[in-house]
Symmetry: C2
Subunit: 200 residues, 2 copies
Amino acid sequence: MSTYPRLLENVIFQLSKLPGVGRRSAERMAFWLLDQDAAEVRHIADDLVQLKAGLRCCRRCNHLSDQELCAVCNDSGRDQKTICVVEDPKDVLAIEKSGAYRGVYHVLLGTISPGDGRGPEQLKVQHLLDRVGQEGTQEVVLATDPDSDGEMTALYLTKQLKPLGVRVSRIGLGIPVGGSLEFADLSTLTMSLNARRTIE
Amino acid sequence: MSTYPRLLENVIFQLSKLPGVGRRSAERMAFWLLDQDAAEVRHIADDLVQLKAGLRCCRRCNHLSDQELCAVCNDSGRDQKTICVVEDPKDVLAIEKSGAYRGVYHVLLGTISPGDGRGPEQLKVQHLLDRVGQEGTQEVVLATDPDSDGEMTALYLTKQLKPLGVRVSRIGLGIPVGGSLEFADLSTLTMSLNARRTIE
């Protein structure tokens, strides 16, 4: 029944794939795009393509970066002897927003998850152990999510890290169990970082 | 303070321009895009560019089309002698969704609006008068919005069309179906009372 021209229908279909965008919002967006200059729309499209073409993982910490080293690793003002271990680049961004952490990061790119058949060898665990050996790290802050996979990963990492003689701590107070770091509010995150406890 | 890589920040900035999309939703969308294949993102980007490059106005009725004639004008099953005049291609799509109209359209691409300095010569009015003269039109349904600019446009068109000997009608204005008299505004109520029909 709909007589949307095919090109318009294509764009509405593509936009409605985006998270949180239904058919009706996608229509609004498509009509908004129609009202823009062709150059402006091309600019938006180019930036989308660039995102996938240009972004890569930081060679040192696996965080998202457009250069070989990410902005945090490149920042000489950061405490290079403290490594905060997170699951995902999104978690780095969340912690950075809080401004409560001045060390560097290590992104595992996932968690250990026997249910999904993911073991430590699928993660950047060996990479972390190598870094701790080479960089003279003093403390590793385990900031995986406090859900079952995240806890298991923290436990596994603790066992691997302890023999290297490094202090291992776990973020704690603040983040509700079963919650996700990504969606924590800033003060909860700050509290959680300040209240980190050494694992004996 | 934010350490979003520049390419990611660019995409978030572009997405947050979309209507109804704030910073937080744009971030979610950007991360979703990051998780897609590069080919998928390129596909989305291409469709956006195509929208502006490929869509044009129907030669006959000014509705959006990817061909010289739009889908409605190309449909031989439609009543070619009845023209519904609307302000905008979006209005065509809204009426088509209702399925209640089987004639063809004429899109003015705006309204007369002295406040914004828009007169009839900025609209597709002459084009409409030419069509009525050439196509043997029997009825013109004026479906401009019932606001001040739309009413003024309808009045102007009526004056221009009447001398051509064509029947001119205006869409019914009143209380929406499912609406409530109690909450209708005064001008809608007035309009609704003036537009009352005798029940046979």
